[in-house]
């Protein structure tokens, strides 16, 4: 098991009722972690243009996550 910090933004933060939390997980990838946390953010599939950042950089959903990572979960963006 790994320990990661997860941050929720915008819609995800509202749904999760929290801005961040520490999670124990066996997920190998960001996508897997996203699925594991569906009870928080309420979205089935990140490919609906959700984005993820790991340790300060934009990442891909199949990127691996490691113990101690900080994972940012972004709902679909709407700038401009």
């Amino acid at each position: 098991m790994k320990t990661v910090v997860v941050e929720y933004f915008a819609l995800f933060r509202d749904r999760a009722g929290r801005a961040e939390e520490t999670v124990e997980t066996s997920s190998a990838s960001a996508a897997e972690l996203f699925g594991e946390l569906v009870h928080r953010h309420g979205t089935d599939d990140p490919r609906g243009h959700c984005k993820v950042a790991i340790n300060g950089a934009m990442a891909q959903w199949d990127d691996p996550i490691a113990d101690g990572d900080r994972v940012l979960l972004f709902p679909p963006v709407a700038g401009g």
Binding site: A10, H49, A53, M58, P75, P76, V77, A78, G79, G80
Partner: protein, 153 residues
């Protein structure tokens, strides 16, 4: 200097324009996104933007660098608001100075298109009827996902 910034106060459009003066430039194109009073059949009262600064700025700089190189423009800058905005407020400003107008138009369009779908920025609409909701991305709407549409443009 920083070509992308996030502002909690009204965007100073004239100061931005003047900061881009360059005697090598023959064409200058600006896009401004303004807060509209309606969206998708609903009356909008105000907007609220949430911005994740570190990545909005670094990704925005990347977009501008790539666009300047691709189209050979002289300079480009962008400012995005955050927090509460009222009707008519400028939510985003993009300016591009280039040798000729062709590149300036194309680059400005490309930058605003990418800002809208790539930067970690979220918009909540507050409606006249008291309701409110997060607006989902343009690309999602275009792909037929069951999301709202953009109030600015």
């Amino acid at each position: 200097m920083a070509r992308v910034s996030i502002s909690g106060t009204p965007i100073e459009t004239e100061a931005l324009r003047n900061s881009m003066a360059d005697v090598r430039a023959g064409g200058f194109v600006v896009f401004e996104g303004w807060v509209r009073n309606h969206n998708d059949g609903r009356e909008v009262q105000r907007l609220e933007y949430e911005v994740y600064h570190p990545l909005a700025i670094s990704e925005g700089e990347r977009i501008i660098t790539e666009t300047c190189q691709r189209h050979g423009v002289i300079d480009a800058r962008a400012v995005h608001r955050e927090g509460l905005l009222e009707l008519g407020d400028c939510a985003v400003w993009v300016g591009v100075a280039a040798g000729h107008r062709d590149e300036a138009f194309v680059a400005c369009r490309e930058i605003i298109d990418r800002i809208k779908v790539e930067l970690p920025i979220w918009k909540k609409e507050h409606y006249v009827d008291g309701d409110s909701g997060w607006v989902n991305c343009e690309r999602c709407a275009a792909h037929g996902h069951t999301h709202g549409h953009s109030t600015t443009s």
